[in-house]
């Protein structure tokens, strides 16, 4: 119970810190967004030959950003926290002229779709590959796979994405070059729509699979070899257990366990990666909005995205932590390294 309470507390605290960081970056940084806008307005006024009127400028800033620079910092901080926590109010997106929460909320399922499938497929293939490599340890297959894994591990996912997009989409036209569904499809439970979704998501998912590909397989291989050399495996064989049981209940479980938390953290990595990925594939998920927000200096949206990704990561790590105790009996005794 201790562990759970501690982890829960830590997660909440982390989110609190993240929100605070966004506030600090947003409001208090020298040359931060607010100050930059103020300066811009001042120079605009000066350029027009007018005497800059600070109260007018602050008013303008307040209109554009929803933030009144005259509010004392601690009050502003309190209001910022309150709005986010109580009302899920991340402010108003400047570029889209809509509440940030709404923009992100509608984009979220697409990002989740791509990321979750990406990591599920990636992890499964990696683990199987790693286990097979370990089984044939020292063979040509093992050496070959090791080299392939290292090469794949060296390819940044966006490089993979670019190559896929260039050839599979642009050159050969096997996949769409952007978007997330057929433009002429109607949303709903119909095959054409679903087909479109799958067709559009295929390349982003394939590229997500590349994130951390190879590395996991090598870890799995190492873990398997370690377990296979353990004394309890020798005893299990002496006890006459079937190969199947040894493979699943002994090697499999004990080798996958250490990768479990890595999986959850990997999930967070894939979500983050969607910033670049969705941009390349023009796939309008949460990550895709990042670039627009950046170009348009849409700070409320940018901060919202950071908070959004943090929530996902924190929840992922928390789930990993809490469920780890269920699958590894040793986790509950003594404070082990969570990750």
């Amino acid at each position: 119970m201790n562990r759970y309470a501690r982890r829960l507390f830590q997660s909440v605290f982390t989110l609190f810190v993240v929100i605070t960081i966004t506030f600090v970056l947003y409001r208090m940084m020298p040359n931060g967004p607010i100050e930059a806008m103020q300066q811009q307005l001042v120079s605009e006024a000066l350029a027009k030959g007018e005497n800059p009127d600070m109260s007018y400028i602050n008013h303008m800033v307040a209109i554009r950003t929803g933030i009144d620079p005259n509010t004392p910092m601690h009050v502003a901080y309190y209001e910022y926290m309150r709005d986010i926590i109580l009302y899920q109010d991340f402010g108003q997106s400047i570029a889209f002229n809509a509440p940030v929460f709404e923009v992100l909320f509608y984009a979220m399922p697409w990002t989740v779709l791509v990321s979750v499938y990406g990591i599920l497929i990636g992890f499964t293939t990696n683990i199987i590959l790693g286990a097979v490599m370990a089984y044939y340890e020292g063979s040509i297959f093992d050496t070959g796979s090791t080299i392939v894994a290292i090469v794949l591990n060296s390819i940044p996912y966006y490089v993979g994405a670019i190559v896929f997009l260039a050839f599979l989409a642009f050159q050969w036209g096997l996949f769409p070059t952007g978007g997330r569904m057929y433009p002429d499809s109607t949303a709903g439970f119909n095959w054409y729509y679903i087909q479109g979704v799958i067709h559009h998501a295929a390349l982003p998912i394939l590229s997500s699979v590349l994130i951390g590909f190879g590395g996991t397989a090598l870890s799995m291989r190492g873990n398997c070899i370690r377990v296979m050399g353990s004394n309890y495996l020798r005893v299990a064989r002496l006890r006459g257990l079937s190969d199947g049981r040894i493979a699943v209940r002994y090697v499999g479980r004990n080798a996958i366990l250490p990768l479990y938390t890595q999986f959850m953290i990997g999930l967070a990595g894939i979500f983050s990666g969607s910033i670049i990925m969705e941009q390349i594939f023009t796939y309008p998920g949460v990550g895709w909005y990042t670039y627009d927000a950046l170009v348009n200096r849409d700070y409320p949206l940018l901060m919202g995205i950071l908070i959004f990704f943090s929530v996902i990561t924190v929840v992922g790590v928390l789930i990993a932590d809490l469920t780890y105790g269920l699958i590894d009996p040793r986790a509950n005794t003594g404070e082990k390294e969570g990750y």
């Binding site: 353990s230 309890y232 005893v235 002496l238 006459g240 004990n254 009996p329």
Partner: protein, 352 residues
């Protein structure tokens, strides 16, 4: 050469052989040469005896034990024959068993408890599942088997409910060791091979476990092969003692005789060098010299560089076994003179 076979050491006609080991050699290929960790060893193990195998670490005793279950791991190469004589039925050539037969043979006929008890259980599985999966794997009656397991645990001074429901890491070393002994007995095997089963434990726990082993031996009539570097540990446990030096046996015989009137100079030196509570302190002395390397065992008698009795004959010829009496044999040309050359006392004159 008055060489005789070690086979002639059967102490009485009434006993019958359960294991017959002939010319077993275990080799490992290494970069700097072939490492022969068991060197052409033969012996017979009798039904229902406790035989202690004593030797320094790295003398090949664990490897020898593994051959009885054909459990020498790659890249070890085993040659020779190991024949197992079941209570009823045809003799079994252990090294020739196919995978399926070997799977049945292990644990049903011969079980093994080795030194790494702390690492003998799957860390992510509770103890009960270990027992159950073993029973299921051998097609035994699970309910009856678990009942037997509970009895065994109770006899080993463990609380069955607590132990069965626990995960390995929740048990202390001594508890894991005892649980492993219970697990090895759950299929009622005829033979148990115990390789340093008390190695990492406290003295009190060691001694308690050897006591428990003796009790289990009596109750279930199991043949026990007890392997250790700690000679005193088996002094009152074993019926017979085999002493191993440099990858082969140098002396074999009834425990009492081997301890009281050791024939091989190495056994005598070992008895002198082992710290214990009864030997007069001034009688204890270390063995001079170092144990040989498995890649380059000395020519002739492997003990000759350290032996006070060594002659040119010892340096050139492997002594082979010499009968000391009907039940005992020693691999030494000069065993008759060993008592005079290496003296030892097991307990002080003013004892009890």
């Amino acid at each position: 050469m008055n060489e005789t076979s070690i086979h002639s050491t059967r102490s009485s006609t009434s006993s019958e052989t359960i294991f017959e080991v002939e010319d077993i050699t275990v080799e490992f290929g290494m970069d700097r040469g072939t490492s022969r960790v068991v060197d052409n060893v033969s012996m017979e193990i009798e039904r229902n005896e406790i035989i202690g195998i004593v030797g320094e670490s790295g003398s090949g005793k664990s490897m020898f034990a593994s051959t009885l279950l054909d459990a020498v791991e790659e890249p070890g190469q085993v040659t020779g024959t190991v024949t197992y004589y079941p209570e009823d039925g045809e003799p079994v050539d252990v090294l020739d068993l196919d995978e399926k037969a070997l799977r049945t043979f292990r644990w049903e006929e011969v079980a093994m408890v080795d030194q790494g008890a702390m690492d003998s259980f799957n860390p992510t599985m509770d103890i009960e599942t270990h027992f159950k999966e073993t029973l299921i794997a051998h097609g035994s009656d699970v309910d009856g088997g678990m009942e037997h397991a509970r009895e065994l645990l109770t006899e080993l001074y463990l609380d069955p409910d607590r132990v069965l429901g626990a995960y390995p890491h929740e048990l202390s070393g001594g508890m894991q060791q005892r649980t492993l002994i219970a697990l090895s007995l759950v299929l009622k095997p005829d033979v148990i091979v115990m390789d340093e089963p008390t190695g990492a434990l406290d003295l009190l726990m060691q001694r308690s476990i050897t006591g428990l082993i003796a009790q289990l031996h009596e109750r279930y009539g199991i043949t026990i092969l007890f392997i250790t570097h700690d000679l005193p540990l088996i002094a009152d446990l074993a019926d017979r003692i085999a002493v191993m030096y440099a990858f082969e046996f140098v002396e074999l015989g009834p425990a009492y005789d081997v301890l009281k009137h050791a024939a091989h100079p190495y056994t005598r030196a070992l008895l002198k060098a082992v710290p214990n509570t009864m030997t007069p302190l001034e009688e204890m002395a270390p063995i001079e010299g170092d144990s040989p390397d498995p890649v380059s065992v000395p020519q002739g008698c492997s003990y000759h560089p350290r032996c006070p009795l060594a002659t040119s004959k010892c340096r050139e010829t492997d002594p082979g076994f010499h009968d000391v009496d009907t039940a005992r044999t020693a691999a030494c040309f000069h065993w008759e003179r060993s008592a005079a050359a290496v003296s030892y006392t097991l307990s002080g004159p003013n004892e009890h």
